[in-house]
Subunit: 322 residues, 2 copies
Amino acid sequence: MTSGPVFDVEKELSLVEECIQQAIRSDESLLTDIARYVVGAGGKRIRPTVALLANKAVGGKNVARAVQIAATIELIHSATLLHDDINDGGALRRGKEAAYKKYGVQNALVAGDFMFVKAFAIGGTFEPDIVDLTARVCTSLAEAEIVQKRHSGNLSITRDEYLDIVRRKTALPISAGARIGAILGGGTPEEVEALASYGLHVGTAFQIVDDILDVVGDPAVIGKPVGTDLKEGNMTLLVLHALNDGSERRAELSSIIRQSGKADPLISRGLALIRESGAVERARVDAEHYGFLAREALDGVRPGPYRDQLSRLADFVVRRNT
Amino acid sequence: MTSGPVFDVEKELSLVEECIQQAIRSDESLLTDIARYVVGAGGKRIRPTVALLANKAVGGKNVARAVQIAATIELIHSATLLHDDINDGGALRRGKEAAYKKYGVQNALVAGDFMFVKAFAIGGTFEPDIVDLTARVCTSLAEAEIVQKRHSGNLSITRDEYLDIVRRKTALPISAGARIGAILGGGTPEEVEALASYGLHVGTAFQIVDDILDVVGDPAVIGKPVGTDLKEGNMTLLVLHALNDGSERRAELSSIIRQSGKADPLISRGLALIRESGAVERARVDAEHYGFLAREALDGVRPGPYRDQLSRLADFVVRRNT
């Protein structure tokens, strides 16, 4: 990861970068430029890191295949970011101008398709069950966008509905990477399930922390303004907590959430209400809980240095500030 | 095909429809609705028809696999249409409101991704060389969008550059379907190459006729207004012919092409100039030529009723008015 602790998959991660750079080469240099801009934008590489560590934790020796699946997953993630930014109108991504702003919506849309295809060109070389799982991850990502939008501004969304969105958009992709990494590494069926479970929990913790950082993060560190979720009407765990703290804040926060085209002062007021409600602290407890479940899942994996690193990764995910 | 002659793959085409309908099922009914709207919009099904006929022409007996690849290709085509319409702002598609107008840009964008994924979920079950070819088709489609946009309004585009765009956006996808159909059908290497070549030529003829219909088509029959290419600055073969007829029309047509945000009267004037130049007739000769090359390529395929139908299909493609 470019920020945060270093895990013992640095060599493999640089092979993942090489694999991605090779995959996105095109005669049409604009496509390569856009793809490079997005994947090179200093992401945390959490997805490939989990896949690679899971692979090594079960004794995986065939680095090349693990690297390919990690590259597939990161390419899918990057393609999704490209299209999501178009859809959400997010102007900044990882501290840089969003690709669609820099290159235009039309080019960014096509470049997203291009990256999906390149991901599948690599992913499609695997066994049918892995291809199927990869496709299910992508389906899940598309569905998550629709579900999230359907629930936009839905004040009566339940915690389960929130968790279902998180599962589809963040937890399942990370879990699938862990699962495939473990399968390719020759893990036992128990280990494969344990690592898939680890991925689900780590992914959930990751998303909850994302929600937290959108309220109390440092824009200079997270690379985008805070309050994006509130602006878009995304019902995050923090909003759920704040709406259900039994105080009179509910009415004011509800009316802010329901307004379309919220101006900055309104966003600031909404964030203040969320912070005052204690939602941040409650969400941190939730994130810690999923971090704990993730570490607990590792009990099903043979002991060793890579299992320990997965445990450290779960800690990092919960405690990160970027 | 829903319009035009019927070929002896009606049963298989209905299996293709079933395969597609099954693939696009989702818990999120909005995704299914959008996908159904796009694939159900009465396309000509030229791509699956070519793939299925090629399969049968070489004696293919495993209908199921041929049907799957035909469904893959049609799904990719439909996903591309969805995203292209967003990019081009085309309000009508096959006589119906474009999907992004009906369902919103955000939902249509995600639905396009969803359809790509579903295509790959099916296509990814094939042998590596077929997966690779399918991915190359998708890459080619993305590149074609970029190249076409790069050449938008480029008055000095050459015929070769035009043909390169056609190859990427129309001819290669149709050719790949023919090639894969022939491979799955157990064709000889010579037959596979012959059918791939047939597909390239038929695809080129198909695109040239598309260009023609955008100038002289009946909007009620083609399901969209004429002059779309001119409006978007697409350099079609007809524009190339009209610009290079040695007459004084060039200056006026050039100035129309260069204007952005062309109003309808200007489009009408541009179309009139193209028609007066004799470009339509010259393009028809070109289309006939590629139709001829397609039929000639069939010499490399064993004689039989399906080879004859491929020949008839080439005729139909050249003579169609929709």
